[in-house]
C-alpha cells in the first residue's frame, strides 16, 4: 500500500527525475508535471494527497498555482523555494502553502516535511469531547471542518483545523509558540514563528467576524496565542 500520492510540479527535468526516484523508493506514488497549468489539469483529473510545488516556474509560476489550487482544495501543499528570505516564506504560506523547503534540501528533511504534512492529526486530549462551537454568529462544525461566520461559510484546511482544535481544547489559556508548532506541525518544528503568524491570520480570516479585531484568537504579546471564550 502506498504511503501517499504525491504530485511534483517543477520545470526542471532533473529535479523531477530525482523526486520521482527518491519518493517512489520511500513508498510514495509519484506523478509529475512541468508547469503550473499542467499541474492544475492533473489535479482535476486525479486525486492526490500532497503537492510538491516549485516556486520559480515559467508561465503561471508557483505562487499563482498555489493560490489556484488552494481556492478549490484543501490538499497539502509544500513549496520548494530557492530564496530563503522571510518575505518569500511568508508569501508562500500566505498563498496557501502548508509548508516550504529551501533548495537545496536534503532528502531526509524533505521526507520529514512530507510525513508531517500527511500525518493524520493526533488524537488530542479531549478532542472527542469537543462540542460544535456556536457563539457571536460563528458556527464551527468539527466533524465537517466547516466554519460559518454570519452566514458566510468556509472550509478549513487540515493544518488550520489541527490548529483550531488544539486551541478549542484549551480555551482561555495562553499557548506558547513552540508548544503550538510542535503539537500541530510535529516534533521537528519549534522555531518557525512565521508559520504561526500566517496560519493564525488565515484562521482569523475564516472564524473571526472582523479579522482585524479578533475576539476569539487573541495574541498575547511575546508569549503566544489564546483562544478566548466567554465563560
Amino acid at each position: 500500500m502506498s504511503a501517499g500520492k504525491i504530485l511534483v510540479i517543477d520545470d526542471d527535468p532533473q529535479i523531477r527525475r530525482v523526486m520521482r526516484s527518491t519518493l517512489t523508493a520511500h513508498g510514495y506514488q509519484v506523478n509529475d508535471t512541468r508547469s503550473g497549468e499542467e499541474g492544475l489539469e492533473e489535479l482535476r483529473k486525479s486525486s492526490y494527497d500532497l503537492v510538491l510545488l516549485d516556486m520559480n516556474m515559467p508561465g503561471m509560476g508557483g505562487m499563482e498555482t498555489c493560490r489556484t489550487i488552494r481556492s478549490g482544495s484543501d490538499i497539502a501543499i509544500i513549496m520548494l523555494t530557492v530564496n530563503n528570505t522571510e518575505r518569500q516564506k511568508v508569501d508562500a504560506l500566505d498563498a496557501g502553502a502548508d509548508d516550504y523547503v529551501t533548495k537545496p534540501f536534503s532528502t531526509p528533511e524533505l521526507l520529514a516535511r512530507i510525513r508531517a504534512s500527511l500525518r493524520r492529526l493526533p488524537q488530542l486530549p479531549g478532542y472527542a469531547d469537543l462540542q460544535p462551537l456556536a457563539a457571536q454568529g460563528v458556527n464551527i462544525d468539527l466533524s465537517s471542518r466547516k466554519v460559518t461566520v454570519h452566514g458566510r461559510a468556509s472550509r478549513l484546511t487540515a493544518r488550520e483545523f489541527g490548529l483550531l482544535t488544539y486551541f478549542l481544547a484549551r480555551p482561555n489559556k495562553t499557548i506558547a509558540h513552540r508548544e503550538l508548532l510542535q503539537a500541530v506541525w510535529g516534533p521537528d518544528y519549534g522555531d518557525e514563528l512565521e508559520y504561526l503568524r500566517v496560519f493564525v491570520n488565515r484562521l482569523r480570516k475564516k472564524i473571526e467576524p472582523d479579522p482585524s479585531k479578533p475576539v476569539f484568537l487573541v495574541t498575547d504579546a511575546w508569549a503566544g496565542y489564546r483562544f478566548h471564550l466567554s465563560q
Binding site: P104, F105, T107
Partner: protein, 517 residues
C-alpha cells in the same frame, strides 16, 4: 541689424565651447544721439507750427487779440498732444512772444501799453504751460501703460516658452535664448550656482562672469549704469540659485522680479524632472539587477538541489548500506555541494548588497531575540560547541532589518566556529553602548587571534586569514557583514591579540519608544 547671434557657454572660468545658433532679427537699442536729434527736429517743427499759425492769424485771416489768444492755446494743445513737454513748453513761450509782438498793442514791439494786457499775457502763458504739462503727463502715462502691457506680453510669451522647454537638452541654455528672443534684450547672461556654469545669448557678449558669481554668492543686485547692465540674483525659497545679467533692458522692477521668478521656476522644474528621471532609471536598473540575481540564484541552485537530494538520500541509508569507501565518496560529494551552495548564497548576497538592490525593512526588535534566532538558524553546526550567551531582556529594543542583522550574526558565528578550536567556547552577547544611544552586539572567540596588519584586511572581499587558508570559506562573510551594517549607518569593529582570540562588535540604533513590534 545684427543677423547672427552667438551663444557662449562657459563652464567655470574656462571657455568651453562656442556655437552659432539660429539666425533671427533683433532690434538694436535706441541711441542717445539719435534721440537728441529727434527732439531738436520736434522742437523746430513745433516752432514752425506756431510761426505758421501766426502767419495765418496775422496775414491771411486777421483776428482780434482775444481770438488770437484762444487759437494759440489750441495750437499749443495740439503740439502738447503730439510732442512732449519740452516741445510744448518752448511752443508756449514762442506763442506768448508772438501773441505779444503781433496782437497786443503797441503792435510790432515786445512792449505792452495797457497794463491789463500784461495780465492777459501771463494768464495765456500760465494756461498754455499748464495745458502742456497736463497733456505731457497723460501722454507719458499712456506710454508707460503701453510699456507695461508689452512687458506682460513678453513675460507671458517667455513663460509659455519655458513651459515648452525640451528637458533632454540644456535647460539653462534654452532659458537664456528664450529671454533674448522674447524680451528683445541685446545681451543675456545666466549663471547657475549649482553647476557653476555660465550661459550667454544675444548679439552682445557680456564680460560679467565675476560679477554674476558675486551676485549669486552675495545675493545682491549689481548695476552698471555706464554699460546699461543690471545683474540680479535668482532666488528660490529665499536661497540664491544663480544670477541673471541683462544689458540694455528697459524692464521695470516688477517685471524684472517676475522674469527672475520665471527663470527660477524654469531651472527648478528642470532639476526636479532630472531627479525624477534619474530616480526612475535607478529604480529600473535596481529591479533588473534584482531579477538577474534571482535568476542566477535559481539557475545555480536547481542542479545543486538534484545533487543534494541524491547524496543525502544515499547517505541516509534508505537505499541500502553503503561500503565504507562509497560512504566516504558520497560524503565528499555532499560536503562539496554544501560548499558550492554557500558560495552561491554568499556571492548573491554580496552582489545584492553591493549593487544596492535591497531595501532595509526596518522593524523594532530585542537584541536577545535577534541573537537567539541566529543561534537557532545555526543549530545544526553549533550543536557540539560551547556557546556563552550574555544577553538581557532589560536592554532597550533596536530598530533594524532583522533578517539582515541575522545574516551578520550567522556570518560572524560561522567565522568564530571556523577560526577557533572546537573545545574553546564562543561568547555572544549584547550590552548598552556608552552614552546609552546604542546597543552593542559582540561575538568573541578563543582562537588564534588576528594580527594588527590583518585586522585591516579581513573585511575586504575574498580575503582569507593567512594561517588558516586550509579552512573552507568563501572570504565574503565579513565583507557582507560590514556592508549590511553600513546600510544601517553603523560599522563593525574587531579587537584581537594573537593567541588570545578575537572579538567582533557592532552597534545597533535604539528604537524610539512606543513603536514595539
Amino acid at each position: 541689424m545684427a543677423s547672427v547671434r552667438e551663444v557662449i557657454v562657459r563652464s567655470g572660468a574656462i571657455a568651453a565651447s562656442r556655437e552659432r545658433l539660429d539666425i533671427f532679427d533683433m532690434p538694436k537699442p535706441r541711441s542717445t544721439a539719435r534721440n537728441n536729434s529727434r527732439l531738436i527736429i520736434r522742437v523746430v517743427a513745433s516752432i514752425a507750427f506756431i510761426a505758421a499759425a501766426t502767419f495765418i492769424l496775422f496775414r491771411l485771416v486777421p483776428v482780434n487779440p482775444t481770438t488770437a489768444g484762444f487759437l494759440y492755446l489750441v495750437a499749443i494743445l495740439l503740439v502738447a498732444t503730439k510732442g512732449g513737454l519740452v516741445e510744448s513748453t518752448i511752443a508756449s513761450v514762442v506763442a506768448m512772444l508772438c501773441f505779444n509782438f503781433f496782437f497786443l498793442p503797441p503792435i510790432g514791439t515786445l512792449t505792452i501799453a495797457d497794463p491789463q494786457n500784461w495780465v492777459a499775457l501771463f494768464a495765456f502763458l500760465a494756461t498754455s504751460l499748464t495745458a502742456s504739462q497736463l497733456s505731457a503727463r497723460v501722454k507719458r502715462r499712456a506710454l508707460e501703460a503701453e510699456e507695461r502691457s508689452r512687458e506682460v506680453e513678453r513675460l507671458y510669451a517667455l513663460s509659455r516658452a519655458l513651459l515648452l522647454i525640451d528637458t533632454s537638452k540644456s535647460v539653462a541654455n534654452q532659458i537664456v535664448q528664450q529671454i533674448a528672443l522674447t524680451c528683445e534684450v541685446p545681451g543675456v547672461a545666466l549663471y547657475v550656482k549649482g553647476t557653476g556654469e555660465l550661459y550667454q545669448a544675444g548679439y552682445t557678449t557680456l564680460d560679467v562672469e565675476a560679477r554674476l558669481r558675486e551676485s549669486a554668492v552675495r545675493s545682491a543686485v549689481l548695476k552698471d549704469d555706464a554699460a546699461n547692465l543690471v545683474i540680479t540674483p535668482i532666488r528660490l525659497g529665499g536661497e540664491p540659485i544663480g544670477s541673471l545679467g541683462l544689458s540694455g533692458s528697459a524692464f521695470s522692477d516688477a517685471a524684472l522680479e517676475s522674469l527672475l521668478n520665471l527663470v527660477a521656476i524654469g531651472l527648478e522644474r528642470a532639476n526636479s524632472q532630472k531627479a525624477v528621471t534619474q530616480a526612475e532609471v535607478a529604480k529600473q536598473s535596481e529591479e533588473l539587477k534584482s531579477t538577474l540575481l534571482d535568476a542566477i540564484a535559481h539557475e545555480f541552485k536547481t542542479p545543486l538541489t538534484s545533487i543534494k537530494a541524491v547524496t543525502t538520500d544515499l547517505l541516509s541509508g534508505s537505499s541500502g548500506t553503503l561500503e565504507a569507501h562509497q560512504q566516504e565518496l558520497i560524503t565528499i560529494a555532499d560536503e562539496s555541494t554544501d560548499r558550492l551552495s554557500k558560495l552561491v548564497t554568499d556571492a548573491i548576497q554580496l552582489a545584492r548588497i553591493e549593487g544596492g538592490t535591497f531595501r532595509l525593512n526596518l522593524g523594532v526588535y530585542f537584541s536577545s531575540s535577534l541573537i537567539n534566532t541566529a543561534l537557532r538558524q545555526m543549530k545544526s553546526v553549533i550543536e557540539e560547541r560551547k556557546i556563552n550567551l550574555n544577553t538581557s531582556d532589560d536592554l532597550p529594543p533596536v530598530r533594524v532589518d532583522a533578517e539582515l542583522i541575522q545574516i551578520v550574526l550567522t556570518h560572524l558565528l560561522d567565522n568564530a566556529l571556523k577560526y577557533s578550536p572546537p573545545d574553546n567556547p564562543i561568547t555572544i552577547g549584547a550590552r548598552l553602548g556608552e552614552g546609552g544611544g546604542k546597543v552593542i552586539v559582540y561575538l568573541a572567540d578563543k582562537g588564534q587571534g588576528i594580527t594588527v596588519q590583518e585586522q585591516a584586511q579581513i573585511f575586504e572581499k575574498f580575503y582569507r586569514g593567512k594561517s588558516e587558508r586550509h579552512l573552507q570559506g568563501t572570504g565574503m562573510g565579513l565583507a557582507i557583514a560590514r556592508e549590511i551594517l553600513r546600510a544601517h549607518g553603523e560599522d563593525i569593529a574587531v579587537s584581537s591579540s594573537p593567541g588570545q582570540g578575537s572579538e567582533f562588535s557592532f552597534a545597533l540604533p535604539i528604537a524610539p519608544w512606543g513603536s514595539r513590534q
